[in-house]
Structures are given as C-alpha cells and as structure tokens.
C-alpha cells in the first residue's frame, strides 16, 4: 500500500513539467546567471585600470619619485593600476567633464591634491595610492636631507628606502578562514531557494489529497486508505525530488562553476536535508492552512521564497550585511537566511556553533509548521466543498 502510493506520487510529480522546472531546472539557470555576473568580482585582484591625469608643473618635475611611481604604475604589466596622462590643468578639467578620466592630481606646495567628480571606489583607491606615494616620497626626501653629507649616493639611499617600503619585516598572520569569499553568498542563497521552492511539491501533493481542493481529493477521501498514509507517502516522494534538485544544483555549482561548499561534505549534506525539510513543511503548511486555490498557494510559496532569498543576499550581497548589522531579528524568521548562514559558516568558520544554531532553527521552523498542519489536516471534514 505504502509502496503503491509512493510510486504513484513520484510519477505524478515527475510528470508535472512546471513543478519540475521550478524545482530542478530554474535553480540551475539562475546559478549560470550568477556565475556570469559574479565571476569578475571574485577575481578581485584584477581591478579595472583607472584613467587619471597629472598636471605638469615644476613641483612635479622636482619630485621624480612621485612622477616615476605613476609612470611605473601605468606601464602595461600585470600590476598596472592606472593609465596616466601628463597634461595641463585646462585639458585635465575637460577630460574630467567628459568622463574620460576619473580625476586629476595637482602637486602644489602643501603636497598633492586630487580633483574628482564623484566619490566612489575608484577615487578611494586613487586617494590611497596617492597618499602612499606622497608619504613615501616624503620619507625619501627627509632621509636624503639628513644624510646628505654621507658617502653613499642619493640613488643608493632612495633605492634602499624603496625596497624597505615595498616589503616590511612584520608579518601579519590572517587567522580568518583563508578562503573567505563573499561572492559565494548568492550561490548559498540559491541553495536556500531550491530547498524552499520544494514547498511547491508539497503543495501539489497535499492538494491531491484534499477533498476541497480537487475532485481527485474527494475520490481519495472516500477510499479506505488512511489520509495519514496518503500524505506521508506524498511527502516522502516530494522530499526525494527536492533532494534530487538540491544535489543537482550542488553538483552543478561545485563541479562546473567551482563553488566551494567547504570541506565537510557530511555537514553540507545534513544542511541540505534539513533545509529541504523546512521547505517541504512550509509547503505543507501553506497547503493545509490557507483555503485558497492551488495557483495562489504556489504564488505564496514563490513570493515568500523570493523575498526570503532577497533578504539573505541573493540579488545584492550587501543587503544581507545590512540586515545582519541593523535588523538581525529578520534572520530569526527567514528560513532562507538560516540555510545561507549555515552554508556560509561551514565554509568560513572553524567553529560550528553558528551552523548548529541554524540547523536547530530550521528544525524548529519545520516542526512548528508540521504541527500546525497536522492539527489543521485532522479536521478532515468540511463545512462546504
């Protein structure tokens, strides 16, 4: 009896093209988009080359270290940071107005000053590089002044200082996980989305068994098979397909798109199991608690899932940080962020406290919804059909 039901539940789900699209293929398509959009950012070493201008004047000619540094940073090699034009102030202004350069540098008595249009990440980088070069040139000049009477040549001293400045003897040991890469986040929330979308399968399955949702449900309700057996077998079939979807996504993202889920495969798998359970119980709850048609039920699942994933950083990673920082309470109600956080903490941190907390949260979330659903499903008779 049980086997009979599971086999047929499975058949019903597999043959429903729309359900299969949402749970199996939609996540793969999204993963591909993510990969295309984010592949550059993770490659953060490769910054864009910034177009700048430096105003030619006497002070610049006298400060060869300053000038040479920019020439060096603008020469085409792997470390090229700038594309520098040496020009007059009028030309530079015009270039800036036409957005051909990000900013220009003027050397005057008080040191260099930077003129830019907007303050953004490029101007920030620019500002820091100029400060560093300027400070280095001050060190060199001061040192040369104080050692002017000694026997070493100016070149030797400045070369020595430059080599000191380029490699300090102090080691900075980074104890944070060395593979922290925040561009993994959208992929993690994609796993969350896939798990929660599984709720659609639960909705479809339960609807088949509810007399007020489908005529088939009426037929099933008058049969001598217990409703609990029907629902349990439907739920198990849905769960199997959900796990299939999650595995497919993880396989695709980790093997083909090179997404790292950390080294503990068992814990990742456990999170997948528990996350899918949360999605499934969400679907069951929506299906049994809301007395609306199937389209609306599916709509609720998709909407809540998308909102949850949006808040856990799927579309804009920094949104997650903002919520973590300013309104962390949202995370307590968002199963998507529980799954995302769980994966993230597995990947980034050595201690598993956060991970187990997320697992527990997901289990509590699932349990609550399942209990609610059971109490609702037990009132099996209807006032109207």
């Amino acid at each position: 009896m049980f086997k009979h039901n599971i086999i047929y539940s499975f058949k019903l789900l597999i043959k429903n093209k729309v359900l299969i699209f949402w749970t199996l293929f939609f996540p793969l398509i999204l993963a591909t988009f993510f990969h295309l959009a984010f592949s550059n950012i993770s490659d953060s070493e490769k910054l864009n080359i910034i177009d700048i201008a430096i105003i030619e004047n006497e002070l610049l000619d006298n400060n060869s270290y300053f000038k040479e540094s920019f020439v060096y940073l603008s020469s085409s090699n792997e470390n090229q940071l700038f594309d520098t034009i040496f020009t007059t102030e009028e030309d530079a202004k015009e270039l800036l107005t036409n957005n051909e350069i990000v900013g220009y540098i003027v050397l005057n008595g008080d040191g260099p000053s930077l003129v830019v249009k907007n303050s953004d990440i490029n101007t920030t980088i620019l500002k820091y590089v100029i400060e560093e070069i300027n400070q280095n040139s001050i060190i060199i000049n001061n040192t040369l002044e104080s050692s002017v009477n000694q026997n070493t040549t100016i070149n030797d001293i400045s070369n020595q200082i430059i080599s000191y400045l380029s490699s300090s003897n102090i080691s900075i040991t980074d104890q944070s996980s060395d593979n922290v890469d925040y561009m993994m986040l959208p992929f993690y929330s994609l796993v969350a989305m896939t798990a929660l979308y599984g709720g659609i399968l639960g909705v479809a399955m339960i609807n088949y068994f509810l007399a007020n949702m489908s005529s088939v449900g009426k037929r099933v309700s008058v049969s001598p098979t217990k409703k609990s057996i029907l629902i349990l077998s439907g739920v198990i079939a849905s769960y199997i397909i959900q796990l299939l979807g999650i595995s497919l996504l993880m396989f695709y993202t980790s093997v083909i798109l090179n997404i790292n889920y950390g080294s503990n495969v068992f814990l990742v798998f456990l999170l997948g199991l528990v996350g899918s359970l949360a999605g499934l119980s969400f679907g069951i709850a929506v299906s049994s608690l809301f007395k609306v048609n199937e389209d609306t039920k599916t709509g609720i699942i998709i909407s809540v899932t998308m909102l949850g994933c949006f808040l856990s950083g799927m579309m804009i990673s920094s949104l997650k940080y903002i919520i973590d920082k300013y309104i962390p309470i949202v995370n307590l109600f968002n199963p998507a962020s529980m799954i995302t956080d769980g994966l993230y903490s597995l990947y980034c941190y050595d201690n598993f406290n956060k991970y187990w907390f997320d697992i527990m949260s997901l289990l509590i979330f699932s349990l609550l919804l399942i209990l609610l659903s059971i109490t609702s499903l037990r009132r099996q008779k209807y006032d109207s059909i």
Binding site: H4, S215, V222, P224, Y382
Partner: protein, 312 residues
C-alpha cells in the same frame, strides 16, 4: 441486514441556508435508487454527507448497518463513488489511473490486475488503456471516471450524474454497465436529472426539492401521482385560442394549454384519446404538423407536486 443505507432526520445547513432539511430514507440491498431533483435540490450534498465528506449538525447515517464516519474504513472499503466532476490524474494513463485508485482499496497486485481488466471491459476502454486523459473525448473520460470508482467491486455504488454531457453511445454503454453492476449484486445510488434514465434503470426513486423529499416510490407508483394517464401533444401554427375552451370540455380532458406552437391536452383516462382528438381536429379543419401521445413522465409528477419543471 435488510437496508444498505439508513438516513434519519439528516439536516445540513450552509450558514442560514438549509441545503438538506430533515431528510430520512432507506435503501434496500440490490436496488438502484434514483435520486432526482433540479439543480440545487440537495442531491450532491446528500451524497457528500453519506460519504462523510461533509459535516452535518443533525441526523444519523448508517451504512451496512453501521454508523458512517470519516474513519469508518471497513465501510469505505465496500463503497465506490463516481463523482459528477471527472476525478482523474492528467499525468497518469487510463490504466495507471485505475491502478492508482484501485490500489487504495486492493493491496493484492494480481487481484488488482484482474479487477482493472474487468473494469476496462465494463466501460469498454480496453483499447485506450495507454492513453492519457487529455487524449480522450468527453464521453470516454466519463467512462474512465466510472472505471476508477468501481474497480474494487464495491457493494454500494454512488453515481452522481455520470451521464452529464455524454454522447448517446457512451450513455448507453454507461447505463448497461450500471445494470450489470446491479445484476452482480451491488446496491446503487444514482442521481440524475434525466427522467428517462431514472425511469429506465431505477427500482426506486426519491424526488428531492429544496432539501426535502417530495415524493418517493417506484417509477410507476410515482407516475400515478401525476393524476393523468395520457398526454396528447400537437404542433400547430396559428392556433385560435377560441378552441381552448371547447377542447377543455371534451371527454376525460383535465387540462389544456397552448404555448410556443405546442398544444398539450391532458387526459385522466387513457383510451382512444389520440384517435378522438385527431378526428376533432379534422372536424374543425385545424391544420397541424405533428401529433403524438405520451405517457406521463416523472417531469409531470414533479410539475404536479411543485408547480415547476424538473429541468430547470
């Protein structure tokens, strides 16, 4: 166990609207009970209550002598239902559908296989076993709907308007099937608003209106309630109303009406009425297209009791 179904004082309300009002009836073993009534008379509600799909506040329902409840699985085992709406999975083939629903009743695989084939035979769907419901015509889907409901050889079968919107060929096929089920020993509750069907196959008929039983008995018993024995129906264009009074005074005539080019004359005794009336028309030189005589139908019974047509 004389009665398969015993319903006592059943009342079902939707808010303030009484869908069923103090309904009581009994169904004998092996009979086909026709449940007749216009739309909204409470037929489907009665069936849904009998099947414990719906809540009800007052009354008792006993099936096979036992109280019918949501978890009365032993009772449910012997009940088969064919719903008004087609209740099959679009995703499964004809065979798979019957197998699935059969599987909810019968665990033994081999027995189920035999039963499925018998059900396919009963509704003549053998050639379509591998088809999906979407590939079937309306009549064939209805037949599949029936096969799904009776595959487990139930002792009590509910058929809720199984012939709605069905072509004549499928309809005859379905009616023959139902007779065969009865002959095999099943008790059948049959709701319909096709009077001819009920007259043809039902042993007993219950007529419902507004949640009440307004008449019950065999087809013949009910027809006696209509107080007429024969109707003569004539299609006449441009009938002069002055003849109406004259016709009304003819022998045995109880009522005469003319509407939409049709003249209906009702007689309380039924001998030679047609011949006499044809002669009357000849004498008065009234031209007509068509003239025929009819025995009273359940519709006349319904009309007599409620003053309105059954087919609303």
């Amino acid at each position: 166990m004389n009665y398969v179904i015993e319903v006592e004082h059943l009342t079902k309300k939707y808010k303030s609207f009484k869908a069923i009002d103090d309904l009581s009836f009994k169904v004998k073993k092996g009979e086909i009970l026709g449940l007749l009534g216009p739309n909204g008379s409470g037929k489907s509600t009665t069936i849904n209550c009998l099947l414990a799909l719906l809540n009800f506040k007052q009354g008792h329902i006993k099936i096979f002598g036992k109280e019918m409840k949501q978890d009365a699985y032993d009772i449910k085992q012997d009940i088969g239902v064919v719903f008004q709406d087609v209740a099959v999975f679009d995703e499964l083939t004809v065979y798979e559908n019957i197998d699935y629903f059969g599987g909810l009743y019968i665990k033994d695989k081999n027995l189920r296989k035999t039963y499925i084939n018998e059900a396919l035979d009963l509704v003549s769907l053998k050639d379509f076993a591998k088809f999906y419901p979407k590939q079937l015509s309306g009549g064939l889907i209805r037949r599949l709907n029936i096969a799904c409901g009776i595959v487990h050889k139930p002792k009590l079968i509910f058929l809720d308007e199984p012939t709605v919107a069905v072509d004549p060929q499928s309809r005859n096929n379905i009616l023959n099937g139902i007779r065969k089920l009865r002959d095999d020993g099943a008790t059948i509750i049959y709701t319909t608003h096709y009077m001819e069907e009920a007259e043809m196959i039902c042993d007993n008929i219950v007529i419902l209106d507004k949640g009440n039983i307004i008449a019950e008995g065999s087809s013949d018993e009910l027809k006696k309630l209509a107080k007429i024995e024969e109707k003569v129906i004539v299609e006449i264009m441009n009938f002069d109303d002055k003849y109406l009074k004259m016709i009304g005074k003819l022998k045995n005539v109880v009522d005469v009406t003319y509407a939409s080019s049709i003249l209906t004359v009702k007689y309380n005794k039924g001998q030679n009425n047609l011949v006499t009336f044809i002669e009357y028309l000849k004498e008065n030189k009234i031209e007509y297209f068509k003239i025929y005589s009819e025995r009273p139908t359940l519709n006349d019974v319904f009309l007599e009791i409620t003053g309105k047509e059954l087919r609303d």
